[in-house]
Amino acid sequence: MKDFVESVLRGIGTGSVYALLGLGFVIIYKATRVISFAQPAFMLAGAVLVTYLVGPLGFFLGLAAAAVLTGGLALGVERLAVRPMIGRPVFTVAIITLGIDIAVRVVVNAAIGLDVRQVGDPWGLKVWKLPGGVQVEQRHVAMVLTTAVLIALLFVFFRYTRTGLAMRAASYDQEAALAQGVSVGAVFALSWALAGALAAVAGTFAAVGGSVSESLWLIALTALPVIILGGLDSLPGAVIGGLAVGTVQELTATYQGSLPWLGGNISVVTPYVVMFLVLLVRPYGLFGTREVERV
């Protein structure tokens, strides 16, 4: 029982990182109908920036600064490589983002260099003991709180601000949005910047308690099944999908010992298994909008 509860708590912790990552994907998707495969690179870039900034600025300021810088980087990349592609088939753009991912990652790898880099967070591997002997890791609590706050901010932004509305509109029909005077280019840039900043935060939290290494970007790929099972264009879907995947993954990790024939690391592929199961029942994920198609 204790194992179970602890696994779920850990799952919610890692799941909130997936949720943050997923949100980044969803925001870009909503604005541009593209899955940006460059998110993993931005995630890594953000975490690496934090390792450099934590010295002079401290963790929290460093994280904020890294988020801003990564957002800026994403903005620049969008301007250079994605903007010329407005109106092109989404798959072409998706492959372009993969090209971006390759290029950015090389640069970030160079910045990691040969050292083990730290994000210098205040939590490390410290735990709180709850009654009943259950432990929660402080970093997981921090992740969940951060995610909750960011999600609330995003919700308000999209629902109540003029720019948020413009972003939603542009995501449905770029030309019609242009005709209303929305600068679709600015909307794209903003969505990339937001997603970049979210990726930086997620990347940093993914590295909390460990170190920043190149393999971190692989975590970002987990966001793909997360957003698919949540529904590509659904912000709540990304959050719920992230938490679900995190929990299932941690539970499998805890109990996979009893299913040795599944192989040592079945927990790594569980997100995809969960995704398959959900899609069998709901082809647009849990909360995705069904493509309105009629003749």
């Binding site: 407005i86 109106g87 003029r162 509305l165 413009a166 939603r168 509109a169 449905y172 029909d173 770029q174 030309e175 019609a176 949005a177 242009l178 005709a179 209303q180 005077g181 929305v182 600068s183 909008t289 309105v292």
Partner: protein, 257 residues
């Protein structure tokens, strides 16, 4: 005055679609633009509102001026800010947003007087007020057309460009839309009305242009056009003739010879 001078537009670097079109819309007037399918009417509106870029089109010659200032190099947002707004063919409301959100978006370039503008629109279109919270995609065709016009009017434009507002609408809705255009125009907005339904368009316009394969071939006051034999033959039809009498041969238009 919204004026188009000797405009040439090319798509994809190769397809010359407008070949030296000139036309003008005086403030506060309704001008009708007629023409066969593919004549370039939509293209002309895109050139006015800056949306050519989206379609790989470009203005290669000529100018569009608003009160003698050129606007054809501006981006769509800037054009809207100067008071020229287009209602696109096929309504293009944001199906997933609510009616009110659609309207609010119309005021994107003018956030200041948004609340009043909303009230004005609800006054103009009471149906929309009733449905303000519902998702636009579920409105009927006519309602969507109202929404599209209302959305465009939210930016308080001096000129409204309407692309085939009666397309696919039932006869009664066509009437409603026609009345609406008149109403909007009375409130001081200049209208450039692109229509296939020539009867409807010429009944409310003051002046009309006829576009054929990218050229203006007729340019007359609406009343004269209504009386023109060719227009009657090719655009208005003769009420007494049955489709069963139409013969299979290619007729030629006199103004082309």
């Amino acid at each position: 005055m919204l004026r188009v001078q000797n405009l040439e537009v090319v798509y994809d670097d190769v397809m010359l679609v407008l070949r030296g079109v000139s036309l003008q819309v005086p403030p506060g007037r309704i001008v009708a633009l007629l023409g066969a399918n593919g004549a370039g009417k939509t293209t002309l509106l895109r050139a006015l509102s800056g949306l050519l870029g989206v379609h790989d089109g470009a203005i290669t010659k000529g100018a569009v001026t608003l009160d003698e200032k050129p606007i054809h190099r501006l981006r769509p947002a800037a054009v809207v800010r100067r008071g020229v707004t287009q209602v696109m063919e096929g309504r293009r409301t944001f199906a997933e947003l609510t009616v009110e959100e659609n309207l609010r978006l119309g005021a994107h370039t003018r956030p200041k007087g948004r609340a009043e503008a909303l009230e004005r629109m609800y006054g103009l279109f009471p149906v929309l007020a009733q449905r303000r919270g519902s998702v636009a995609g579920y409105l009927s065709g006519g309602e969507q057309q109202m929404l599209a016009m209302g959305r465009a009017l939210m930016s308080d434009p001096a000129y409204l460009l309407l692309d085939e507002p009666s397309l696919g609408l039932a006869p009664r809705l066509v009437e409603q839309v026609r009345d609406l255009i008149v109403q909007i125009n009375r409130a001081g907005t200049g209208v450039l009305l692109v229509e296939q339904n020539a009867t409807m368009a010429l009944s409310i316009a003051e002046h009309g242009y006829v576009l054929e394969t990218g050229k203006v071939v007729l340019d007359k006051p609406a009343a004269e056009l209504l009386a023109d034999d060719d227009i009657r033959e090719f655009y208005l039809g003769r009420a007494e003739r049955s489709f069963r009498d139409v013969k299979h041969y290619k007729r030629r238009k006199r103004w082309l010879s």
